[in-house]
């Protein structure tokens, strides 16, 4: 059924919160996702010509990097892009077969590969590029929010999070119930001013992004360094740890 289900009272709204302040663009989430999901619920994440001149394949995470603003006020921002498990998911309602569906109990958007006819209309309807077509299987594939991890009782409690969240070295990715205002992720969004992407598209995405923190005020340069300071600056600190500490403390 490709109509959006009415969420049951008290139903969860599971999703991700991605911190654009701490993401370093290392691609670990993309790789970990690929590794888990190529043998998971939507398996396989087909690669075509993986070692050839034009490798091509299905990925659920794509990590872009952007420059925002100019000069000293500008920032380089790494930007992971994946399915946002929208409340009004247009990819679900356009599906002619019922292969695309949104779960009433937790809001996860999934594809039933046995029903998908590969018409690609869902990928046209999604503004976020969250759906990728598997040329080999002839069906659409997408992020499952690691449905086979988060409810997997054979895994330890701490591992029951999406693969991208568990692997992130800077804890830039958080997973939880965004429908519950008291959940950790909702608190984080409230605290940091988390936002949704392209609200004007009307999809009501569940995932939130946290903005880069404002840069610390630049140090005020002293007009004429005292002779002792000049002497200090002239002798470089050999120990790298101490040199780093010196730089941080001199700010």
């Amino acid at each position: 059924m490709t109509s959006i289900p009415k969420p049951a009272p008290g139903a969860k709204k599971l999703g991700l919160v991605i911190d654009l302040d701490t993401c370093v663009g290392c691609q670990a989430c993309a790789v970990s996702c690929k590794e888990w999901n190529t043998s998971g619920h939507m398996a396989p994440l087909t690669d075509l010509d993986p070692y050839g001149a034009r490798p091509d394949g299905v990925w659920f995470n794509r990590i872009h990097s952007y420059e925002a603003g100019d000069g000293a006020a500008g920032r380089t921002v790494h930007f992971p892009r994946s399915c946002l498990h929208c409340e009004d998911a247009p990819c679900v309602t356009v599906c002619p077969t019922g292969a695309s569906y949104k779960r009433a109990e937790d809001g996860i958007v999934l594809v039933d590969a046995d029903l998908c006819i590969g018409c690609k209309l869902c990928s046209w309807a999604c503004p976020y590029g969250a759906r990728e077509y598997d040329e080999d299987a002839g069906v659409m594939k997408k992020c499952t929010l690691c449905i086979d991890r988060i409810y997997n009782e054979t895994l330890g409690e701490e591992e029951r999070v999406p693969a991208c969240v568990s692997v992130c070295p800077t804890r830039a990715r958080h997973f939880g119930d965004l429908g519950d205002p008291d959940s950790e992720v909702s608190q984080l969004v409230a605290e940091r001013g988390g936002f949704e992407l392209m609200p004007e598209q009307g999809c009501k995405p569940v995932n939130r992004y946290l903005p880069p923190r404002p840069r610390a005020a630049p140090p005020v340069p002293s007009p004429s360094p005292s002779p002792s300071q000049t002497a200090e600056a002239a002798t470089p600190i050999a120990n790298r740890l101490l040199a780093w500490a010196d730089r941080v403390l001199s700010r």
């Binding site: 091509d56 002619p96 690609k120 598997d134």
Partner: protein, 309 residues
Amino acid sequence: MRPAFSVIFFTTASGAGCGLLIWLGLLAPAGLLPASLWFGGLTLALALALLTAGLLASTFHLGHPERAWRALGQWRSSWLSREGVAALATYPPALAFGSLWVLGGPRGPWTALCGALAAAGALGTVFCTGQIYASLRTIRQWHDSRVVPLYLLLALWSGAVLAAALAGLWGAARLPALLALVCGLGGLALKLSYWHAIDRAAPASTLESATGLGSWGKVRPLDPPHTEENYLLREMGYRIARKHAAKLRRLALALAFALPLALLAAGLAARLAFPALLAALAAAAGLLIERWLFFAEAKHVVTLYYRGN
């Protein structure tokens, strides 16, 4: 958007087939088209052949054509599903219309009812086709109030040119040719207004809204997520050079509208049948170009993430 030939052929062929069926189903029972069995058979066969060829072509771009029947299931939410249902629902009344024509000519009350039902099904099919595109907010060139009327008007235009060409063989091209002139002029005006609008409308989404980083200033792509093209860029990232678009628009205008309109007018003035046949050929070629442009000029918002504009 990538202009896939199967979809271009589907929308133009099924549009022309539906248009022809609408005119046949409505005009023949009113005695406004030749009552000859051969005319009815030939026209109905051409209309259904165009619709069928279009539907078959549209299944070629599916990853699993053998599962195409499943597309009939979700008519409550999906315009694509509704289109399939409407197209298939057109066949029984159309075939009944043809059978009743064979048995008792085109003017009986039951023939008229079946003709009207077939026309309604054909109209509904084209309406759903237009809605598939018009309902996609991700593509501003499609999410436009002119798209559905354009699909309807162009289907009626190409159908009327075909009706004029066929009726001309029985010396009765006058009425369908006049109807074609009206639809053609209307279609031309609407297409020009559509192009004028999509060239000037401001995009609803920008890279700033797509990343939420607008408060930092202008956002520019720095590093792409992958070095090679992926599905998104192949399917959604199709680009056409501006100068080619301008040339192709002029070619589409000439072939889809100007030339067939002139030929129809000349045929009407000189009471000749063959200009309508030439008009049908020109309109078919022109509408294929027009439909190619409809896809090639459409820009999906996901390209913002990759190209920034």
